[in-house]
Symmetry: C2
Subunit: 231 residues, 2 copies
């Protein structure tokens, strides 16, 4: 048995790679996902497949309703932007969910304390981060400082929390290369913000465009199933 | 209309006083409570009464299930400690809920962004804090630093988040004096960790003992309805 680690698992390409890194490093993986009113709830099925694939000791799904807060195309009745040029993705898009990573990391902190873990893995990425403020290195560092003051285990000295964001400085192509080298089956993962009912990707939202460019840049065949393709 | 503020409202004595302070200071109050699997769900009825009493513009209740994380007498099948001497309450008790204030403040941060607020009020208290690590000033300060890096509004410069914890350095007696001066009706509030079905306080859990001593020290009549008293 390795040390326990909490791995935030969205079902996307990035968090699947992070889970594979945590497994490679010998951690016992406690996978954590959220059902938060997202349009693309199929990603939870993808997360479950990834958790099984990396041999997670458990996969918990927390229910909460971020739709109560409104304000995002990922949860509210605002259209997901389509067909934007990848190089235009520097503004914070309407798919931003208020304080989402803060909330997710807070639950991860709670689970870390319960399973006596000092390590929380998250697949944030500062380069291809689509302009989300809570994917920046300075945010992750500040969360870690706060988290070390927040728990009973931290105060008692049995937990020294580390927020591990191993993709922070990687390009999407580097993430895909890393995951491929670790045996990640990216066909299991779902990045699309607006998939079809059977989980086929739209090919034109920001997440699809970044993902497709990543496979192209990495020179690795894209296993994504796109809507309209033969099955 | 004043500036909007998010006020975390538990239904207890402390957060009722904080709400009255926010109202006195001219804020438009967006009250926020949580249904998190607590034993004492009657506190949500108390929170609703307090929200109405201070003229809140809205009162949102977020559902989530912290029982999935286990580990606390407030949510799990662990007995609530009774009859401890108040001066013995320096250890972190079994009523501690892992990372609870971190989670609550994270949701408050999300709501603050949605309602375009820079102010989040929370009734934490470092003196009578029953040993909870996430009630300490250094925790609140670190959360504020993190929160300023976490949101789109913060990055764009339209939000400069302040975590306002006006009770941080007050004794329970001072809190009761402050609330009384501001017209808080403490009979509306519920502090007990283990109330009866009709909301009568047990008189012997840590929260009841601290509350009763606070009224005694303040020299103010205790309006709390205790179990076993005539109605």
């Amino acid at each position: 048995m390795g040390e326990p680690a909490v791995v935030l698992l969205s079902g996307g390409l990035d968090s699947a790679t992070v889970a594979a890194i945590a497994a490679r490093d010998g951690f016992d993986i406690h996978a954590l996902s959220f059902r938060y009113g997202q349009r693309h709830a199929l990603e939870l099925d993808a997360a479950a497949k990834v958790a099984a694939h990396v041999g997670a000791v458990e996969h918990r799904i927390v229910d909460m309703d971020l739709r109560a807060f409104g304000g995002s195309a990922l949860t509210a009745d605002i259209p997901v932007p389509k067909g934007r040029l990848v190089d235009e993705l520097d503004d914070i898009p309407v798919t931003y969910v208020p304080a989402r990573n803060t909330i997710f990391l807070s639950f991860a902190l709670a689970l870390a304390e319960v399973v006596r873990s000092s390590d929380v893995f998250i697949g944030v990425n500062a380069l291809d981060y689509s302009g989300y403020p809570d994917c920046r290195p300075e945010f992750i560092a500040a969360f870690e400082v706060m988290a070390r003051l927040a728990t009973k285990a931290g105060v008692e000295g049995t937990q020294h929390l580390c927020i591990r964001a191993p993709l922070l400085e990687l390009s999407k192509a580097d993430i895909i290369r890393t995951g491929t080298a670790l045996g990640v089956d990216f066909a299991m993962t779902l990045s699309c913000y607006d998939p079809s009912d059977i989980g086929a990707a739209c090919a034109s939202c920001d997440a699809c465009l970044l993902r497709a460019r990543g496979f192209a840049d990495a020179g690795i065949a894209d296993p994504t199933r796109y809507a309209g393709e033969g099955s």
